[in-house]
Symmetry: C2
Subunit: 323 residues, 2 copies
């Protein structure tokens, strides 16, 4: 009986990971201290800022926040692979202006900057819709196989997700990428289940495949939700129905400002990844400095890749040289 | 140390409620046996039908399934109270045909049967939108206060929710009522948190209340999602992204057939509440018997109020007399 009891006690200490650094890939800068101080304050019983477990909602942007988005975000790469496949099946498509624009682009940033959104959307509709959800997921998983080693996931952010989870936060991915596409890697990359993914989605319909046989969800060529900027807040409200107390986004296109404001206005924590490291990845920022200006005004914490992150990717240990 | 250890053991047994009947308000009929047999099969390690915890998703309709909907569903009663309040503030509204139809109705069933949906929707827009989510929630909670004693919640279904939860099911409410309205009682009535409510919703926008001040979600007079019939499946797919393995709806208007088919086609359990008890509540059914026909065709289990439920409401113990 006594041995049995020690077992519980050991389990308890193992569970709290007492004394271990929860964020080993972060340098010991103010940013790391600010994160740990906030998380400790809201999860320590008796603290003035204590937040009960059901209210520990955290929202994370994906592309540029949890993983690489330059030179191209993961769903863009998937789109390109499907477009190329379609052209192999039907070579006439190579003359279609939408296809031509993508296939003959100089670079992804140049393509995204100069192509009308409708042209890109037509390619999405052609390649991402017209099949059932299950058929789409199978396609996505085939494409994603080489990425399941998490080689494009920022290691410091993966540690932050684990740290928050160990403190009983519920983590939602709030992304401009498509919900169903993200669900094909959310568990593998981030340990986030499908019901905690909030993204862009196409319209859909329920179809009876055969009289009195299975009903299936068919993907239709029209946008249901384009989950960017303000829409991210509306979807958080619609689907979660509570204000998050932790939000993370990135400097790059202003896509996370609304979500960060919504989270921090009532005292939540806002974190902004700033891509300022030319050596270890591409560096980039908002054209007009919008996100960093908002960060200064509303008191968000910056995670500067160059100075705050010790390593970027798992197993890749090269340090940033002096600034 | 030894005492400390006994404490864990006692907690463990208390947690499993070993030997206790999890459904005491259900009669010992085939329906109760079928529910217990299914739940046991999918939650017993080693069983051929074992389902891992993250996949234990259950979806429940609310009105007529978890609580009374006759003579009027809860949100209808709320609508009526707001309409009356508006007329007190502005007596001219009594002459507005939409208001007149509701105020001078003979009965709720008659009103619902003979009023165009657009007329009802205009009343919803007038009374339910034009304020922030937080303002609306405060209004709803004032109205709901007398109901928080759960006197309109079916006790057998409350026990079923607790039973499923004790077996680590995650319960979603999938309802035609409005998401935000339901969130104002989902915890109090059913122990379901806001992020597990999927309902009808209005369009909304994010508004900056004052320059550089808080952003708030404003409710707009237009329908975003009307969550009935096939839409329920599309929203389950959109928000949960997994097929439920347990679905419960009711005979009455065919609103849950699609959701039940979607759940049971891959082996999930379908439960249909049949309101056949004239003595203890109102009895009613689909006009054309659609739900019961589907139940027979697809093998769903019926929960007949008259014979399967020992008591309907907490503390109300009158038994149904012989059939």
């Amino acid at each position: 009986m006594r041995k049995f009891c020690y077992f519980f006690v050991i389990l308890f200490y193992a569970g709290t990971a007492y004394g271990a650094d929860p964020l080993p890939s972060w340098n010991n800068t103010d940013t790391k201290s600010a994160i740990v101080a906030y998380v400790t304050a809201v999860t320590t019983q008796g603290s003035a800022r204590f937040v009960s477990v059901p209210r520990r909602i955290a929202v994370f942007d994906i592309d540029g926040t949890l993983m690489l988005e330059k030179p191209v975000f993961l769903q863009g790469l998937f789109l390109e692979s499907l477009v190329k496949q379609k052209v192999i099946e039907n070579p006439a498509l190579a003359e279609n202006p939408d296809y031509k624009a993508l296939l003959e682009k100089k670079s992804w940033p140049e393509y995204l900057a100069h192509t009308p959104l409708e042209s890109i959307m037509r390619l999405y509709y052609d390649t991402h819709t017209g099949m059932t959800q299950e058929e789409f997921t199978a396609m996505a998983r085939r494409f994603l196989r080489p990425f399941y080693n998490r080689s494009i996931v920022y290691q410091p952010m993966a540690e932050l997700l684990s740290y928050l989870r160990s403190k009983q936060f519920k983590i939602y991915l709030v992304t401009g990428s498509e919900t169903q596409f993200v669900r094909a890697f959310s568990q593998e990359f981030f340990n986030v289940p499908p019901e905690q993914v909030i993204g862009t989605s196409w319209k859909s319909e329920l179809k009876e495949i055969e009289k009195d046989k299975d009903v299936e969800v068919m993907r239709l060529p029209a946008t249901n939700i384009y989950n960017d900027k303000r829409q991210k807040v509306l979807e958080i409200e619609e689907r979660i129905g509570r204000k998050p107390i932790f939000a993370a986004g990135n400097d790059g296109n202003g896509g996370d400002i609304a979500m960060l404001r919504y989270t921090t206005q009532a005292g939540g924590f806002g974190l902004v990844v700033v891509h300022n490291d030319w050596e270890r990845e591409r560096a980039y920022t908002d054209k007009d400095g919008m996100t960093q200006k908002a960060a200064a005004k509303f008191g968000w914490t910056l995670a500067r890749v160059r100075s705050d992150w010790k390593r970027l990717f798992p197993g890749y240990d090269r340090q940033a040289t002096s600034q």
